[in-house]
């Protein structure tokens, strides 16, 4: 048995990939592995989000109350009812007021607080930590705290107002439409400010200090620095927080339910409360599903906008 030896064996370049490998084969394998890694998340998404949503979408075309053993096809009549029912239209208006007020005040206060905490002063770290407390606290606990503050009989607000002689009798803040809406907005803003503040502080810390100092040397005041340097720098952060705030406030339920139950009458019945009432107080699952689908449709535009921003930044 003889063995032939290639005289050029030591000098010939070693093949970089297997001669059997197809062009782009490595990338394809990576893609396949990537998809495999996505399977658990996609499965969870399908089971927990997609399937319930598709079922709700399906139910929204049916009449389905607890008195019925099987849902009955009604076409788009639930959607016609949703868009013509004064109560549901009222819920849209309440949602608009709540989302608008809660988002605007959360951002303004979050930004203001971030500007304060961005300045060096003694105890700043401790104050930053304490500022996160409302965010850490369960929303339902926060609702009970605010419920106690606004309570007409033994509330803190009435006690203070009476002590200082502003009022003669305890006021029922949660029993007036304006008072109840203000209370749920205040409670939600209190919960949201810490998170928004954290976003803004992160944005402020990436700001070029030399640019601000140069502006000050040129005679710019605080207002000018804020309007022409800080806010333009924070613009992407503001965009994200506005969208996230809107989505969060559109979805909000627990604080409102615990504080006012959607009342007085229907003053704080936002879409989430409307869906809950239709489904679990009136047992009208078909109508609740239709309201829910319309509710999701209202969340989609800000969600799309947010995702587009996110994708644009990652590309």
């Amino acid at each position: 048995m003889t063995t032939s030896v290639d005289p050029h064996a030591d000098t010939a370049p070693a093949p970089r990939v297997s001669p059997d490998a197809r062009r782009g084969g490595l990338k394809a394998a990576e893609r396949r592995f990537g998809l495999l890694l996505l399977v658990p998340a996609l499965t969870a998404f399908g089971v927990v989000v997609l399937f319930p949503f598709l079922e709700a979408l399906w139910l929204s075309f049916y009449e389905y109350t607890i008195a019925m053993s099987e849902p009955e096809w009604t076409g788009i009549s639930n959607f016609v009812d949703v868009l013509t029912d004064e109560a549901v239209i009222g819920s849209f208006v309440s949602t608009l007021i709540f989302v608008g007020a809660a988002t605007v005040f959360s951002i303004l206060l979050g930004l203001g607080w971030a500007l304060i905490l961005n300045h060096p002063f003694r105890g700043r770290s401790a104050l930053r930590g304490l500022s996160l407390m409302p965010w850490v606290m369960p929303a339902i606990v926060a609702a009970f705290i605010w419920g106690w503050i606004f309570n007409s009989r033994y509330g803190l607000l009435n006690a203070v107002a009476m002590e200082f002689g502003f009022i003669d009798y305890p006021q029922a803040y949660l029993s007036t439409p304006g008072g109840a809406m203000a209370a749920v907005v205040i409670a939600k803003v209190w919960l949201s400010v810490p998170l928004f503040m954290a976003f803004f502080i992160a944005g402020l810390q990436s700001m070029d200090r030399e640019q601000v100092e140069a502006a000050r040397v040129d005679g710019a005041g605080n207002w000018h620095v804020l309007m022409h340097h800080v806010l333009p720098h924070l613009r992407p952060v503001i965009m994200v927080t506005v969208v996230l705030g809107m989505i969060g406030n559109l979805q909000h339920f627990d604080t409102i339910w615990a504080l006012t139950g959607g009342g007085p009458v229907r003053a704080t019945t936002v879409l989430s409360i409307e869906v809950y009432r239709r489904a679990f107080e009136q047992w009208d699952i078909g109508m609740a599903a239709a309201v829910g689908v319309v509710w999701v449709a209202t969340i989609l535009p800000p969600a799309y906008f947010y995702l587009r921003q996110l994708m644009a930044r990652t590309e």
Binding site: T65, A67, A172, P177, G261, G263, F280, E281, Q282
Partner: protein, 419 residues
Amino acid sequence: MTKITQSLAVCLAAAAFAVPAQADTVEFMNWTYTEDSGRDLIQSLMDGYAEASGNEVEPIGYAWSDINKNAFLRARTNTLPDIMQVQARFLPTIANIEQVQDLNEVFGQETLEAMIPASFLAMGQVDGRQVALPWIAGTIGMVANQRVLDAAGVTEIPDTVEEFREALVQVRDNVPNSVPYTMATKNNASILLDYLIWSWTFGADVIDAEGNADVNSPEGVAALEFMVGLMNDRLAAPEIDRPDARRLFGQEASAFYFDAPSAKNFAADFSGQGEDYAVNIIPMETPTLEEDGTPAAIQWGHVLVMFNEDNASPDSAASGFLMNLLSDEVLVDFALVKGALPPTVSGLDSEEVKSDGYMTAWAEAAVAPRANPIAPLSNGGAISDIIGEEVQAALLGQKTPQEAADDLQARLEEALAEE
């Protein structure tokens, strides 16, 4: 070989007999278990049955306000319990669940009629089916706190609406920081009960015998005007739900409110003095327009529902537990502790019930209780919300009583047409 086979068969048979019968587990869904005052009570009932039968009872507790919703969700996922506690007025809704068993077919109609008086047995009937058995029974009526009346200088329990109003004024003027009558003004389901009683008192039916809305009649408007007047004169207050009323009443910051007989237990808890405080709780007739009028009250009770066809045999563990709950040894004490009547023939005839002064007084005060007319309606939840919203709008001054009555009439007519 045959011998071996026979020996094996004998051994297997012996082994089968030697293994003790597997204990069944009964799932008991109820809200009393979630209440501080009821948890130990329910636990002792379950332990008692488990000890006597060898079966186990697993409690599934939901708050009162959540239990119907969870029954509905469990029905959709085939996870219904074996036995469920249901508020009698919600039974027509729960009876729509397909797995509810007709207890006449389980125990026999004659057996049940011999065991439970017809008037109480009716609490568990829907569309001719015996879908539940009454557990504890009573009425929703008015209670007065004697300590508060003494502090206010009210010497007699008011008989008429006019006397009632005068008593409220006395309480307001003499008991600081009090809500003389803790009328429900916050939760639709609670507002409904106060509104029904006052409407009946003023002669309005709310929903008449033919099933038509009757709320903007002069009597209906007068009832609303009376309720609004109490608010305007600070004799009642906003932001009051039944739990608020119970707390204020027990803490001597309220003189009157409407509740079930279990008002005694809540007052005992909130007073901080326990059962000793119960002597101050006076069951009274709802004030009437005229002195010889019929006081209004609403039928009230808790019933027990059985789910699942597997349980539909008198020998099943679920049937055994149900009958155990309704036995004199278990039921009489439980009902009296809950401040209610045991709705069985032998329970009502027991010495303990006859010698209970509170329950005797309660029964005397509830002369002619009426059924809640909203509860049997298929869209009763929606109608309850409509009534609650319109009455609340009047109470909070968002509408005049006449406007609220007109809007309520129109919305009820539309909702009843869909029923």
